[in-house]
């Protein structure tokens, strides 16, 4: 079967883990890995896995787009560089999946709104944050039953799984996630909290989702909706699990989630990184299926 050819920009942890996932895909074929450092381990690894590589950044890729028929690109670099990268790619008709916090395109949380983006033919979608991918499906699982006045999430990740980019700009996590709790999760007001825990061995990513509903929660409908949503997320993140809940306390609905990673390139505890790359791969696959049908 024909596959849609892709490029990955950013050969770091995220880009490499994503590469492992794309290698397994039945509809995507990773062709290029783009970096900026000729001595980078990530580029060498991608070469070993049979990809074409360049260390000349996005410009090193652009001239090959037509010849190599690249139709989807993933940006796993930084928010700072994303705008320029995205402009150059979309000009060439390449769909861009943005794993940076730049958020030029609309937020994409696959089980919530990926179909909308497909139908609209968006050229750039943003994958929010790791915490957003893990929690917003559950906020939406409640808000699709009844209006949520306030949605709050607490994402706890192992210190080892939070890279220097996240650490340098942790506000981006809290602000982007709380924005997406409102825009995608459809809570009237959103709040996000992130905690880094240095325990050894590293703890599995865990997330708490608190929703306050406007009226008394419809418990049966919410339990059913949460279960259905868990199954939807498990389609692309098999280690996603509702640990406890939904717990009901007045109008508070709380769900406790654990995310075990696939252990592709990154260790299992780094469920936070796994859910980002898995969501990005899932998004690309849906785009690819649409392209293949057309």
């Amino acid at each position: 079967m024909a596959k849609i050819r892709c490029a990955l920009i950013g050969p770091g942890n995220i880009g490499t883990d994503l590469l492992y996932k794309l290698k397994r895909s039945e509809v995507l074929e990773p062709v290029w890995m783009v970096g900026i450092d000729p001595t980078s381990d990530g580029l060498a690894r991608a070469r070993d896995m049979g990809l074409k590589t360049t260390h000349e950044g996005i410009d090193g890729l652009i001239s090959h787009i037509e010849a190599d028929n690249i139709q989807i690109a993933f940006d796993a670099t930084s928010a700072y560089a994303h705008a320029e990268t995205s402009r150059k790619l979309t000009e060439k008709g390449v769909k861009v999946i943005d794993l940076t916090p730049a958020a030029i395109g609309p937020f994409c949380v696959p089980p919530v709104n990926l179909l909308d983006h497909l139908n609209k033919g968006e050229e750039n979608v943003n994958m929010v944050t790791c915490g957003g991918q893990a929690t917003i499906p559950m906020v939406f699982a409640v808000s699709r039953v009844q209006p949520v006045r306030y949605g709050e999430i607490v994402a706890t990740v192992a210190s080892k799984s939070a890279g220097p980019g996240t650490r340098k700009n942790i506000d981006e996590f809290t602000q982007t996630t709380s924005g997406a709790i409102e825009k995608v999760g459809q809570a009237k007001k959103g709040k996000a909290i992130i905690i880094l825990n240095p325990a050894e061995p590293p703890l599995m990513m865990r997330d708490t989702i608190h929703c306050i509903t406007e009226t008394e929660p419809n418990q049966d409908a919410i339990i059913e909706s949460v279960k259905a949503m868990e199954a939807e997320v498990q389609k692309y993140v098999p280690g996603y699990r509702v640990k406890e809940g939904p717990v009901f306390d007045g109008n508070r609905v709380s769900v406790y989630v654990e995310v075990r990673g696939r252990g592709d390139y990154l260790p299992e505890y780094a469920g936070n990184l796994d859910i980002m790359t898995a969501a990005a791969a899932r998004t690309a696959e849906m785009f690819a299926e649409q392209m293949l049908k057309a």
Binding site: V154, S159, T174, K191, I194, I195, E200, R206, H210, E244
Partner: protein
């Protein structure tokens, strides 16, 4: 211990850490009354924020009766000599919150991280230093790591621009020798222009002894709370510590009698029967090295699920939880119920 002539600055926590003791429900009048009593006694620095720092108001930590802005606007204009600090925890608050307080007359901003995660404070500390705030780097749960690790993390905060570095015993677990070793390593490394501070909790009844050890090792800022308001068994009881300082000849500039009056006549009536003390659960925090503000959350879980708070706290200690993980409490309680079948 010869501490005579040492000059230190007392920093009152009752209106911030004390918020934990009362589930963040101080009225504006409570805040004004207590801050004015502290001001009259000569306390130079008073912290005012939600217990979990600015923007801590949440389901996870408890909603404040008022916003941080409302509290700060009520307190600051009425003070004659005392300055006001705020606390912020990256991951909970953001630079937007710091911008919000810019024009309210806040003097000191304390940026707090877990004792191994100082690099998440870079953008906030840089912002505070750039805007001329008295900028404090605050390393929480300092009992969990070695003095060398504390120094390594404090160096990061110093590099970002902090002019004061705190070694914080958030769990009230430390003993004086440990406090002394950790303050000493900081004091010996950093130039004299950088102040070293200590923040204690009284869960093992050691807060005063620990604060004295900190002073002996060179700390010049010491946190405490009148009437011991604060998470767990409370902070170092400030009126007691001030009297002890006076006996040692340590100069705090704070009036011993007036601070006692602030505690007895103003603070205690506000707290009523919720006054922190070293009860079984608070002692467990200190003994097991668990974040002090988990106390009331664990007690609520005990009421709701019938699992003793002490067992929940011990389990949280075993799992190496850090500050801010209040959401683990209900999760762990439910897990324990399941395990019991």
């Amino acid at each position: 211990m010869n501490l005579k002539g040492k000059k230190i600055r007392l920093h009152d926590m009752s209106l911030r850490d004390g918020m934990h003791s009362i589930r963040h429900q101080f009225t504006l009048q409570n805040m004004v009354d207590l801050s004015q009593a502290l001001d009259r006694a000569g306390v130079p620095l008073i912290e005012v924020t939600h217990g979990d720092g600015i923007s801590g108001s949440s389901v996870n930590y408890g909603f404040g009766l008022h916003t941080d802005k409302e509290y700060l606007e009520a307190v600051i204009p009425k003070l004659t000599q005392a300055k006001v600090s705020i606390l912020m925890l990256p991951g909970i608050g953001t630079i937007e919150d710091l911008k919000m307080v810019q024009d309210l007359g806040v003097h000191t901003i304390r940026v707090a991280t877990h004792c191994t995660e100082a690099d998440v404070s870079e953008q906030h500390i840089k912002y505070c230093a750039k805007h001329g705030f008295d900028t404090v780097g605050f390393l929480m749960m300092s009992h969990m790591v070695t003095p060398e690790k504390i120094l390594e993390q404090a160096k990061l905060m110093y590099g970002f621009g902090a002019n004061c570095l705190y070694m914080t015993d958030s769990a009230g677990h430390m003993l004086p020798e440990d406090v002394k070793a950790k303050v000493t390593i900081l004091r010996e490394y950093f130039p004299d222009t950088i102040e070293i501070g200590f923040h204690g909790h009284h869960n093992l009844g050691m807060a005063i002894a620990n604060s004295l050890a900190a002073i002996e090792a060179g700390a010049t800022r010491i946190d405490g709370s009148v009437a011991g308001f604060g998470a767990g068994a409370g902070n170092t009881p400030l009126e007691v510590f001030n009297a002890v300082c006076d006996m040692y000849g340590i100069e705090t500039g704070v009036d011993v009698s007036k601070l006692m009056d602030a505690a007895e006549d103003v603070a205690v009536p506000i707290m009523g029967d919720q006054l922190p003390r070293i009860n079984r659960d608070a002692l467990t925090l200190g003994y097991a090295g668990v974040y002090s503000s988990f106390l009331l959350h664990a007690r609520r879980a005990e009421q709701k699920y019938g699992i003793p708070a002490r067992e929940i706290l011990l389990e949280l200690g075993r799992r190496g939880t850090v500050g801010g993980q209040e959401d683990m409490i209900e999760d762990v309680a439910l897990e324990m119920i399941r395990a019991r079948g």
